[in-house]
Structure formats: structure tokens, C-alpha cells
């Protein structure tokens, strides 16, 4: 029997435990596994290095083994009872006693210097290009300014996913800047679900992007952000993988992911103290997901800086 202890528990998990419903393992990865419950409710069990997640339980994985080495397999029965998660067939128990409920801790007052942020954006780009995965949309990191300003991007040397997403990403940026719902719909439809793997690359980029937009929304009220995010969520229903849909739903509802918040704050911080560590942490998510999330974050920050340059926000 494998028994592990929870470290932090997302606030949505508490609701799941109250309902005492049973589910199944949806998928098992190196550092995480997903459990699926009725009504598309998802529970993610993962290594603590990824920080707090609203529908996740993080744990200190003392063993060097991956979750797939524990004998956990897809479709195994998952039971939630009191403060325990059981997977009888996998002889696996997760004890929630002592785990703290994770709550986002973004400070509301955040002052930053534009020149410092620009320098941090450049540094984060370099770091991501050097350490990130280029299998998905990673190479679009080279073209952030082009995408924000709608300039032409040479497709030479880009993979099919990048080539296919240049125009929609560029349009998406314009849609957000202009608060244009129709353009958002047209571009998002071409992006949602695009890419390989469990969470398609474009979805990961959208997760990073909308996390960032909401981050700014907390400080400067861009009321239309939540409306745009709502459109995005409704467009994603049934159009991408289940896991991606759940992540997109969370982000579009303004839920926070600690690891992404840390990275956004590090880029906006006037000190470079933690930028390196925070960006590298995000890059370690999944196999290429982290790189695409960083792409979304960097695009989001550049876009918000552009919007904030507009006279209406300058003061």
C-alpha cells in the first residue's frame, strides 16, 4: 500500500469531498494524475513544485518514482471518503490531514516600472527559448512584438502548429485590445484544441494569456476581460480535450494558479531576484505546456503594457 500526505488542497477540492462521489483515474503522467468525477469535475493530484491549483491536491513526492511507477492506471476506481482519497486497485491512499487549503495571495497593490518590465520580458523570453520546448508553439516566442502589432511573421522554420496559429494569435491580440468579441470568437475558434498531447499547445497559451489578463484586471478594472473570457470558455466546451477544457474553464472564471501568478509577478517585479526560478518552474510543466503558458504570459503582459500606454489609462 502506498500512502502519501497532502500538502496543499485547492478550494474546489473541498466541495468534491463533501459530495462523497466516486470517480475514475482519467490519465497518469510523470508528476501528476487526473481523476474524473461526474459533471466533468476534475481533481488533479500533483507534485508540490507546481504550487496551488484550485482543483488540485499537491503532495510531497518523497520517492523519486513517477506516478506511473506506483501502478496507477487509467480507469481505476477513485473513492473520496472523509479526509482520504483511495484508489483500491492501485493500493494507493492519499491522506489530506494536515494539508492546508490553498488561497491565491496576489497583492492588490502592485507598482512596476515599465522599463524594468521590458527588460524582464526580454530576459524571460531568452530563458524560455533556451530552456523551453519547441515542439509546440515555443518558436512564437521569437515573434511576440510581431503578434502584438499584427506584423507579418515569416513562416520559414516554423512547425505546422506555429504556422497555423500565427494569424489567429495576432487577431486574438487585436480582439482583446479593441474589445472586439466577433474577432475574438473567430480567432479563438481556430486556436482552441490546436496542438499535440493531453493539453493542446494553443490551449496552454490561452491559459497563460488569460491568467495574465485577469491578473491585470484585479488591479485595473478592465471589465470586458471577464466577458471575453466567458466567450472563450463557451467556445472551448467540447472543442478540446477534457483536461484542457477544465483548465480553460478555471482560468476564464478568474481562478488563479500559483505557479503562473508567481511568474507574472516575477516579470512585473522591479527586482530580478526570482524571475529565473519562477520562469523555469513554469517551463517544467508538462512536456511543452509550460513553454506555451510562458508564451501566453509574455504576450499578455506586452499586450497590457500596450493597452496601458493608451492615454485613457496612462494616469
Amino acid at each position: 500500500m502506498i500512502s502519501l500526505k497532502a500538502i496543499s488542497i485547492g478550494h474546489q477540492v473541498a466541495e468534491l469531498f463533501t459530495s462523497r462521489t466516486d470517480g475514475v483515474i482519467h490519465s497518469v503522467n510523470k508528476n501528476s494524475f487526473y481523476c474524473l468525477f461526474p459533471k466533468k469535475q476534475m481533481l488533479l493530484v500533483y507534485e508540490k513544485k507546481y504550487g496551488g491549483i484550485p482543483f488540485g491536491i499537491s503532495l510531497n513526492q518523497c520517492s523519486k518514482d513517477y506516478f506511473c511507477d506506483f501502478g496507477l492506471r487509467k480507469n481505476m476506481h477513485v473513492k473520496l471518503r472523509e479526509n482520504y482519497l483511495y484508489i483500491p486497485e492501485g493500493k494507493f491512499v492519499l491522506d489530506l490531514h494536515g494539508g492546508r487549503v490553498w488561497v491565491s495571495r496576489i497583492e492588490n497593490n502592485h507598482i512596476f516600472s515599465v522599463s524594468e518590465v521590458m527588460s524582464n520580458l526580454d530576459y524571460a523570453t531568452k530563458l524560455s527559448l533556451m530552456n523551453g520546448s519547441m515542439y509546440g508553439l515555443g518558436k512564437l516566442l521569437f515573434y511576440q512584438e510581431h503578434l502584438i502589432c499584427g506584423k507579418d511573421v515569416s513562416a520559414n522554420g516554423l512547425n505546422s502548429f506555429c504556422r497555423f496559429s500565427i494569424k489567429p494569435v495576432s487577431n486574438l491580440m487585436a480582439a482583446i485590445e479593441r474589445n472586439d468579441f466577433h474577432l475574438l470568437e473567430r480567432s479563438a475558434k481556430k486556436l482552441i484544441g490546436l496542438g499535440m498531447g493531453l493539453t493542446p499547445s494553443s490551449d496552454d497559451m490561452l491559459i497563460g494569456l488569460f491568467s495574465t489578463l485577469y491578473f491585470f484586471h484585479r488591479h485595473i478594472k478592465f471589465n470586458y476581460i471577464s466577458s471575453l473570457a466567458n466567450v472563450l470558455y463557451f467556445l472551448s466546451i467540447g472543442k478540446t480535450t477534457l483536461i484542457s477544457e477544465i483548465f480553460l474553464k478555471s482560468v476564464c472564471q478568474g481562478e488563479r494558479f500559483e505557479i503562473l501568478d508567481d511568474a507574472i509577478m516575477a516579470v512585473l517585479s522591479t527586482s530580478k531576484d526570482s524571475l529565473y526560478v519562477k520562469i523555469k518552474k513554469v517551463l517544467s510543466i508538462g512536456s511543452s505546456s509550460g513553454t506555451e503558458m510562458i508564451l501566453g504570459i509574455l504576450l499578455g503582459i506586452r499586450l497590457m503594457l500596450k493597452i496601458l500606454e493608451a492615454p485613457i489609462y496612462k494616469s
Partner: protein, 522 residues
């Protein structure tokens, strides 16, 4: 022929799937393979690629589509077996790679380590370097923006501990025949290099390799080591080390112009060496340098040839020309005449786009002999600064690896994409006659730098022809046949696109200068 396989409710991460795709691609008869989840967008992508059939169009978002373009039906079964086998494999662990959460744990876990590569933001690099130096480990500091005072402190500490600090801002070294940073695959041999110039070290080492000889050690010092503030601490250590090293027969020293006090210290150290020392200091005073007993070389190529001659016992030989050894003189003259006869009357200027900083500076020094008003973003005496680095003016050489171009973008040695728009712009200028380019190969560099630019080169040549003009593109490739990019493959690609390829950056600059000079006389 398109075949698709649908695996219901199957998920894998993208790198795992990409590895499978790469292995299946190797099966004979497979033209293309794409593995994606069955989302609407991915199905549209497959449709755009012409790789969708009815079966794939019915896949749901939770199904995995494996789309194959194959030459013959017979290979399908073999591919299916291979895919099933690969999908059943567990994700591979990186057995060779050990990750440690902190430097302290790495030092404890790997007690045999004697060199650490430090690549963290400049503000933190000194602190990390200090930790390894205190343990008696050599530090290769890739990070730049390390404060000068910290560099001095680190180097003094390292010197007292008997270890090297290569850097900060060190991009090239070859230690015990292992390339660190960006460096060509050169054979081991009797010539040791110590230098404060990454592209300079690499260019000399690559030319030596081409002659059949090799390198014992190449020690990068970092660009500021020879400033008077640092005092050439690593350079002095390097000279001492190579002088004592049994495998080194000849020393080569390469640097940008050093501080005057440091230069005197270095020359004094050289005067104590028993082994022959070849010295290449860009723009250095030959007489002053040779007073130390060293053999002075005005270009990187000359430094390589002088070192080779020393190993072969040919002395400083007259075979080495004091300027640039342009062999096959007749052929070169006929080449120059043929080029200038094709230019239009308006064409008179030279534009150079460089990846290597030292190669750009060397070209400026060579071209100053032919061209009076030379503009550049590089700050050198007698070289005019550009008002806007993005706008070339008259005769102009640009170091595209300079900070103003690489902010937020990779260095052009890592990704030459940045050169494309500029190359197009320069080539399109009706007053430009010659475009001078350099390409840098080696570990860590882009895997096909010529391939990235070849389309632009071809297009620009075509456009110029349509406008009844002629554009000379002169290039040099710094690398060896054993580099991952293969020197000869890269050079041949350029030649096939009507580019004049010279064996060294100095010769390329020299030829370009002569073309402009002769055109001016015409």
C-alpha cells in the same frame, strides 16, 4: 496515400508523441506522420496538410489521431506494430542527467566535478561562482552583466585557489577537447589558445583544424579580463598553464585592444615564456608586441598560420604575408574584374552583416585600408558611428550580435533569423555593390545557419537581376568538417546560390574591400 489510426480515449504528452513520430518517420515508405488529439482545430490542421480521411474526421476530442502519409499500403502493418510497441513503452528517464535542486547539493552529490558552468542572471553569478571556487572548482561564467568589482574579486580569489574563472560573459572554451559554450569540433593537438574573444578563439581553432593540426586547450577569459581594472588575471593564469602544459607546443593569444597597463603585464609574461607565442591583438602595435619576443599577427587567419608554422618548424616564414594571404592571386584578380564589370553605375557601397563581434572588428580594420568613410555600430577608432543602427549609411559594417539587436532575441549565432530582414534591406539598396556575411558553426550554434538565410539570398539575387543590377555576396564560414553543421555542406550551399565563399573572414573582408576599391577606380 493517407492512412489514419484512431486510438479512443488515449492520451500522451507531446514530447512522448513527438519521439514516436520521429521514430515512425524513419520507417521506409513513411513520408509524413502527424499525431494529434481529435479536436476540431487539429482536424482542420490535418485537412490543410491533406492528411485527413473519413475515419479521422469522426474522431472526438478525447481520441488520438495518428495520420500517416505513406508511399505503399504494404508498410501499414509494420508501422502499426511499431506504433503499438512505442506507445506501450514507459516515458524514458534521463539516466545520464541528474538534476539537483541546489548548487550545494550538486557539489555534494558529484564530488568528482572540477568545472562548473554558471549561467544565471548576472546579479547572482558571482555568488554562485564563489561557492564553486571555494571548493577548488574551475568556473565558466556564461552570464554577463556581472559587476566589474565582483569580477575582480572572483578572479583574485580563484587565482589564490589555483583555479580558473573563465568569464563573465565567456561564450567559448575547449577544455580537454570538450567544447564549452559555442565552439567548433576541433581535433586535439599541440596549439594552446587563451583569448578574450569568443569568435576569435573559434576562428583560429577552426583554421588550425583545417590544416590537420589541433588544439590542446582553448581558454576563454571573458571580454573584460584584459581591462586595467581586472588586469588580465585569467589571461596570466592561462599563459602560465599553457607554458607548463606538456601537450602544448605553441601558444596563441587573441584579444580585443587591452588596457595599456595590462598589455604591458601580458607582454612581460610572454617575454618569460620558453615556448613560441603568437599574439593577435586587434589594431595592436606590431613593433610593441614583437618586443616581447612574440610573433605578432594582424588577423585571426595570420595567427592560425603563424602557429601552424611554429609547430611545423617553419619559423615565422615569408610564406605568411603580412596583410592577408590571398592565394591564387590571378584567379582573385579575374574574379574582382568579373564582379565590377557587372555592377550598375550607381552601385558603390559595401554592407557587412556579422554574427561574430571580433570578426566584425577585424573586418573593419582590414577595410579601413581601402575605404575612408566606414560606418558601424562597433566603436573603433577611425570608424564613424551610425545615427540609427537600423539604418545603414554608405559603407557600413554591422555587428548583429550587439546588445541593441539581441535584446529579447537570441544571438544570431543561435538563430540567424534576425539577419533576414536586414540582409534583404541591404541587398535591395540600389547603391550597394557588395554584401559581406559571416557564418559561425559549432556545438551550441544554429544547426543550419546557411539554410536559414539561403532563401533570402536567392530572392535578393533574383530581384537584383530583374532590376538589371548585380550584387556580390561575399561570405566566410567559421567551422570544421566535424561540426554538427558540417563546414563543407554549409559552404557548398552558399556556392550553389552564387555566393563567393572565402576560406576566412579576413580574406572575405579583404576581397570585399578590393572589389569596392576597384569599382571606385572604374
Amino acid at each position: 496515400m493517407i492512412r489514419t489510426i484512431i486510438r479512443e480515449n488515449d492520451y500522451h504528452d507531446s514530447v512522448f508523441l513527438m519521439n514516436i513520430a520521429e521514430q515512425v518517420q524513419e520507417v521506409e515508405g513513411v513520408k509524413q506522420i502527424v499525431i494529434v488529439m481529435g479536436t476540431e482545430t487539429n482536424k482542420t490542421l490535418l485537412s490543410d496538410l491533406g492528411m485527413i480521411d473519413f475515419q479521422a474526421s469522426t474522431a472526438t476530442t478525447n481520441d488520438m489521431i495518428i495520420a500517416l502519409e505513406i508511399e505503399k499500403e504494404e508498410v501499414v502493418e509494420e508501422i502499426l506494430i511499431k506504433i503499438n510497441h512505442l506507445l506501450l513503452q514507459k516515458p524514458k528517464r534521463d539516466k545520464e542527467k541528474i538534476n539537483f535542486p541546489s548548487l550545494e547539493m550538486a557539489l555534494t552529490g558529484l564530488p568528482e566535478v572540477n568545472l562548473a558552468l554558471i549561467s544565471v542572471p548576472g546579479d547572482f553569478a558571482a555568488n554562485e561562482a564563489k561557492k564553486v571556487i571555494m571548493k577548488g572548482i574551475h568556473a565558466f561564467i556564461f552570464s554577463d552583466n556581472v559587476p566589474m568589482a565582483e569580477e575582480v574579486e572572483l578572479k583574485r580569489l580563484a587565482s589564490s585557489k589555483g583555479v580558473f574563472v573563465m568569464g563573465p560573459g565567456c561564450g567559448t572554451s575547449l577544455i580537454n577537447n570538450i567544447a564549452i559554450g559555442i565552439m567548433s569540433a576541433v581535433r586535439p593537438g599541440p596549439i594552446g589558445i587563451v583569448g578574450a574573444s569568443g569568435s576569435g578563439i573559434q576562428a583560429i581553432a577552426a583554421l588550425i583544424d583545417r590544416s590537420g593540426l589541433g588544439i590542446s586547450q582553448a581558454i576563454g577569459t571573458g571580454g573584460r579580463d584584459l581591462s586595467d581594472e581586472v588586469g588580465g588575471i585569467t589571461m596570466m593564469q592561462g599563459i602560465e598553464f599553457l607554458e607548463a602544459d606538456k601537450n602544448t607546443k605553441v601558444l596563441v593569444i587573441v584579444s580585443k585592444p587591452p588596457g595599456p597597463k595590462t598589455l604591458n603585464r601580458v607582454l612581460e609574461k610572454i617575454s618569460q615564456c620558453r615556448k613560441p607565442v603568437v599574439i593577435n591583438i586587434l589594431g595592436g602595435d606590431r613593433k610593441l608586441l614583437e618586443k616581447s619576443g612574440s610573433i605578432s599577427a594582424s588577423t585571426l587567419e595570420e595567427a592560425a598560420i603563424q602557429a601552424i608554422n611554429q609547430v611545423k618548424g617553419k619559423g615565422t616564414g615569408k610564406s605568411v604575408r603580412r596583410d592577408v594571404p590571398l592565394r591564387r592571386k590571378k584567379k582573385i584578380i579575374s574574379l574582382i574584374n568579373s564582379e565590377i564589370n557587372k555592377f550598375g553605375s550607381q552601385q558603390k557601397y559595401l554592407r557587412g552583416l556579422f554574427c561574430g563581434g571580433t570578426l566584425c572588428e577585424e573586418a573593419i580594420l582590414i577595410l579601413k585600408r581601402f575605404i575612408d568613410n566606414l560606418y558601424s555600430n562597433v566603436s573603433l577608432p577611425n570608424c564613424l558611428p551610425l545615427r540609427d543602427v537600423n539604418m545603414s549609411h554608405e559603407n557600413c559594417l554591422i555587428d548583429m550580435g550587439a546588445e541593441e539587436f539581441t535584446k529579447g532575441r537570441p544571438h544570431p549565432v543561435l538563430d540567424p533569423e534576425i539577419l533576414k530582414p536586414r540582409l534583404w534591406k541591404e541587398g535591395s539598396d540600389p547603391e550597394v555593390a557588395v554584401v559581406l556575411l559571416d557564418f559561425i558553426l559549432g556545438y551550441g550554434a544554429h544547426l543550419d545557419p546557411v539554410g536559414v538565410l539561403i532563401e533570402t539570398i536567392t530572392s535578393i539575387k533574383k530581384r537584383v537581376r530583374e532590376e538589371n543590377r548585380h550584387l556580390s555576396i561575399v561570405a566566410s564560414v567559421c567551422g570544421t568538417e566535424n561540426d554538427p553543421q558540417n563546414l563543407y555542406d554549409q559552404e557548398n550551399k552558399l556556392r550553389e546560390s552564387d555566393v563567393i565563399v572565402m576560406p576566412s573572414s579576413a580574406q572575405a573582408a579583404f576581397l570585399s574591400g578590393l572589389i569596392i576599391l576597384e569599382k571606385g577606380k572604374k
